[in-house]
Symmetry: C2
Subunit: 651 residues, 2 copies
């Protein structure tokens, strides 16, 4: 039997799940636990309000070291007309915290008192004199911590549903409790399935994937107050998966069955749920994440099960959308609430009209404007979630939004983090990663969106970035960047400084089996080339160099075969599809290929003047002039830092 | 030897401490630990950047179940002119995640394919047909997860100093790591000292205090990433304290010595620090918290020690101001950053000019204005920290701020929590605690500041509260609240509804040994009365009732003895200072006294119309009409809910 996905809207899926949980009497705090009041109670959720059993303080106590007395007896004291009180009957010494005698209603600090001995001289024993002399009046209840000042017995200390913070524990202790009634932590079983999966730490063969969704899900569950247990990887076999789900249903409160939730030939999750209980939802109209399964396992107990999609972003989002709210309900606390801001999109996004679409964005504050730059959309790109500053929601019914549109962004970071974020839109270079690392130690974050050199210039024109990285060669002049700046950014006051020169060269198999040496070898009959797409900086560079050498493009086998990234070129070589391609050294190194350096290209940072002189970017300019940073970049293969920081032009 | 406090400014104290830590080479990450990459890594701090060891994915993989092929072979496919590809040479079946054959550059989903058998009929085996028929072209790299789409080997995955979140763990695993280099968690010894202290859970004698500062400090330390160990309570003896500090210095990274940090006769902390090392600071000009000690213990190792003041608010603030930044430094992460908002003070605050003064405030949003109502200032009132929505900083040099002044508030709660907060300034009643509890289950918070009935009316006049509780008796008319409303809130459109009637009566010793029955007993010669202060609602009530009965105030012993709260009256009775006083039942109950009910007084809620009809207060009106809430209030001693929710007047 093949079960097909039928995406239903998110609110429908949520209410179907909620109703099934209500029917099973599982839409509430699972159990109440009595725990000892100690520091481990932080983060637990009160299921009952805490009413004070005792008052705090339980008695009128001295708030300073001094003498307890009755305020009225000091009424007439003046600097020139002191009052003298008898020690014992009218005044007694108290340390801070000591209870006041019943008859006293104030404390005078010891430093405001002249202790007298039997001869009316200053007493040697300041705390046990015969009399005390006072030169100013003491208002009633001065320097007294009154009974019940903090807590009055029977008052509400904390309401039910409160998530305990450190200070709360103190108030609960002060109100006479030694135990707490809290919600039991839900036990969550996480079952990774997939014959292609291998555990973290094992060597990978082609076709194998490191299993880390269970790691992310377990960490999410624990951070939301649950207790996660990761099962071992289960192969894609119906019976094995069914057996493990059945076993998990015996002792866990929730089962997360990871992957196999789609409708592929090896996707058994839906059938397993059907065979053990009830399949409520198969497919939710939410991106990323849509092949989500919601169901109930009916064994000795009824246990909800969530089929979590296999793509890591979908998996993590499924946690946020379905698991966190359920744990909140079971713990009796509110759902997690993100901070929501409004920001303007730096480029358009399209979205399926039927889906709630969560788009990961980098957020930057440029001038007074908050900007959201959409990151990679692929559900497989977990680094997009790591790099995301927030999620922009494009609700059902929207087919997308144009550049410049305002979107609500659920922030993953604090607003103050955004205020120290340097926003870089443009061409990416690996040295930007190093800058990010060095900036992290200098109170700045680098958020970058990689849209290519020309995209960076356009972002500068729209004032949507603090700076742009660019390596645009002008074939007519052989000059980098400047001709493009004059064309695209006329009348903009800016500074161009060189970051690096980097090697472009031929990427070949290890040992260079075809004995390639330069571009002049490309027309050889035994050489198959792999090219970059039209418009790529590297393609512009190739054409320019071929022109200088007078080589006919048509004579090169594979000139018209295009790949879209440095790494795709390297992959074509690694796989034997081509013998060589032009690219940067890092791509060759990433796939353990050999690199034949040919040309140096210049990679500049283009920075509008107002940013260049501002305090936000000062640490970045500091990094560029930092000796250790320059060493780190120069140790990258194919990188030359000789001109790093050199002013190219100031316009 | 007596060591006197000498308060120094906070920045000076911090820099002195920092310099001493630098001198001891302790102003940095303490140690680096290699840990296994598992879900427990959440919250740990990376001490080294994570660079990708491998790319992810490591191969071009199918992103859907379907057939791998070369895009070019489908270029001419049209609905009316299908293309047929040979299975095996031109197309092969792939499940999602399977690696693509080297020659392929696209995947066509299985649902877009007609599988054909040897007779050119639709094949029964959809995945192993003889040929496939395709009716639309497939762009290159369609439905392919490209090698390195997520991570390219050598790229920066996460910078040093990053605090790990669940998704980060996935990205680190995907980039080929099975271990992490993180900062070792600092070990913090917490030493409570004080002969008056008893552990949580033990019965209290007069003069004893429950020791809970160590609980709060330990919970703080753990929540900031340290590992706290609470020592047993040490009596106030120099040698015992010295011995324990010496012992703690052998194995802990930081010692928090709680209380004894002031300059009282039993304050040994400063001397202990001097005898074992160096006393850097004794007294910091910060409120609450000023008798802070900062020092270094020089034993086999040098270990910093912080003498934490004994008052619970001072203790918790010392944690925030001195301990958290040190732990952040030792963990290599940024200090915690509160969200800061601007709000207007609802009443003036005075502040010592020489101190950085942290004032706890309740924050509410009334209309479009954010308001900060100062809470109890006492360093002993830990509930003020529990109830605080934030801290307003009055910096050194300021002697205070007038009502209406704008202050920066470091929020303890999220902004969204503030938006669902009902702000109640006025007279307090215990039923408001119950309302708070019921509101917590209805998506609202009640933040209340108790300034008395008249203070509430004035807050309403300034539009600084959503509602006010009031029980103001007009002696001329015998009417509650309305005469005052007409006087203080002319031309304000508002609604008055009764919350409760509550008993006022005589508070007497258990068993009523003097056989009191009514106010007519007060002039008896054997009766000593204790009164409330002038202006208190209860005093107004007493005078009104005495007038009705024709009793001369002068005939009552103790009529001129004043206390300031219901509880203080009860305490006077409990201590034998007086035989009786007028107050509410709850005060009697709190001190296990007897209560003789005499009169019912009316306690109303006064609510401006625009709030009464708004959505914010709807749950509160719902609570007032809730049967279970009414039952809960009516079960309070002396409470009558007959008129609860009754409209008194609509103006």
């Amino acid at each position: 039997m093949m079960i097909y996905l039928k995406d239903i809207p998110l609110p429908d899926a949520q209410s179907r799940f909620e109703q099934a949980l209500k029917d099973a009497d599982l839409w509430k705090v699972l159990d109440i636990e009595k725990i000892i009041l100690d520091e481990n109670a932080t983060g637990q959720v009160l299921v009952e309000p805490v009413w004070a059993k005792i008052s705090s303080p339980q008695y009128h106590g001295a708030a300073m070291d001094g003498f307890a007395l009755r305020s009225e007896t000091t009424d007439n004291a003046m600097p020139t007309a002191p009052v003298i009180l008898e020690y014992g009957d009218q005044a007694v010494y108290v340390d801070t915290g000591d209870p006041l005698p019943i008859w006293a209603n104030a404390v005078i600090p010891i430093e405001d008192v002249e202790p007298l001995d039997e001869k009316n001289q200053i007493s040697a024993d300041a705390r046990h004199p015969q009399q005390i002399r006072i030169r100013k009046g003491v208002p009633p209840w001065s320097h007294v911590r009154s009974m019940g000042e903090d807590i009055v017995a029977t008052q509400l200390v904390l309401p039910a549903g409160h998530v305990l913070r450190p200070v709360d524990l103190g108030a609960i202790a002060a109100s006479g409790h030694a135990h707490l009634m809290v919600a039991r932590q839900p036990k969550v079983a996480i079952l990774p399935t997939g014959s292609e999966l291998v555990p973290i730490g094992e060597d990978l063969q082609v076709g194998e994937i490191i299993e880390y969704n269970s790691l992310v899900l377990a960490a999410q569950v624990n951070s939301w107050g649950g207790k996660a247990v990761r099962f071992e990887i289960i192969p894609d076999e119906f019976q094995s998966i069914r057996d493990e789900v059945e076993r998990a249903a015996e002792e866990f409160d929730l089962i997360l069955l990871n992957a196999g939730s789609s409708a592929g030939s090896e996707d058994y999750s839906a059938r397993v749920v059907e065979s053990l209980g009830e399949l409520l939802v198969h497919g939710v109209a939410v991106r990323p994440g849509h092949p989500v399964i919601l169901g109930m396992i009916h064994g000795k107990r009824t246990v909800p099960i969530i089929g979590v999609p296999g793509y890591p972003v979908s998996a993590a989002m499924t946690g946020e959308i379905f698991v966190e709210p359920l744990l909140a309900r079971w713990l009796g606390r509110r759902q997690y609430e993100p901070v929501i801001i409004k920001a303007r999109l730096t480029r358009k996004i399209t979205s399926p009209a039927g889906d709630d679409d969560f788009v990961r964005v980098a957020v930057g504050k440029v001038g007074d404007r908050l900007l959201a730059a959409p990151l990679a959309r692929g559900a497989g790109v977990i680094t997009s979630l790591v790099r995301a500053d927030g999620l922009a929601l494009l609700p059902r019914g929207s087919q997308g939004l144009p550049a410049g549109a305002e979107v609500e962004v659920r922030l993953y970071r604090s607003f103050r983090e955004l205020e120290r974020t340097i926003f870089a839109i443009g061409s990416h270079d690996i040295s930007l990663d190093l800058i990010a690392q060095y900036l992290a130690l200098r109170d700045r974050r680098l958020a970058s969106a990689n849209v290519g050199s020309l995209g960076g210039l356009l972002a500068l024109r729209r004032k949507e970035t603090h700076l742009a990285g660019s390596h645009l060669l002008d074939p007519d002049s052989g000059e980098y960047n400047l001709p493009y700046i004059y064309e695209y950014l006329p009348n903009v006051s800016l500074v161009v400084i060189t970051l690096v020169h980097r090697q472009q060269g031929l990427i070949v198999l290890p040992g260079n089996p075809k004995g390639l040496q330069s571009l002049e070898d490309l027309p050889r009959e035994d050489i198959r080339f792999i090219n970059r797409q039209r418009g790529a900086g590297t393609r512009v560079l190739l054409d320019y160099q071929l022109g200088l050498l007078g080589i006919d493009k048509g004579s090169i086998q594979g000139y018209n075969l295009e790949e879209y990234t440095h790494l795709a070129v390297a992959a074509a070589v690694a796989s034997g599809k081509a013998d060589c391609g032009l690219g940067i050294s890092a791509a060759a190194q990433a796939l353990n290929l050999e690199f034949l350096p040919l040309f140096k290209e210049r990679y500049d940072l283009i920075i509008p003047k107002e940013n260049f002189t501002g305090s936000l970017l000062a640490p970045l300019l500091d990094v560029i002039n930092n000796h250790s940073f320059r060493q780190a970049v120069s140790s990258l293969p194919g990188y030359d830092v000789t001109n790093m920081g050199k002013l190219v032009v100031e316009i």
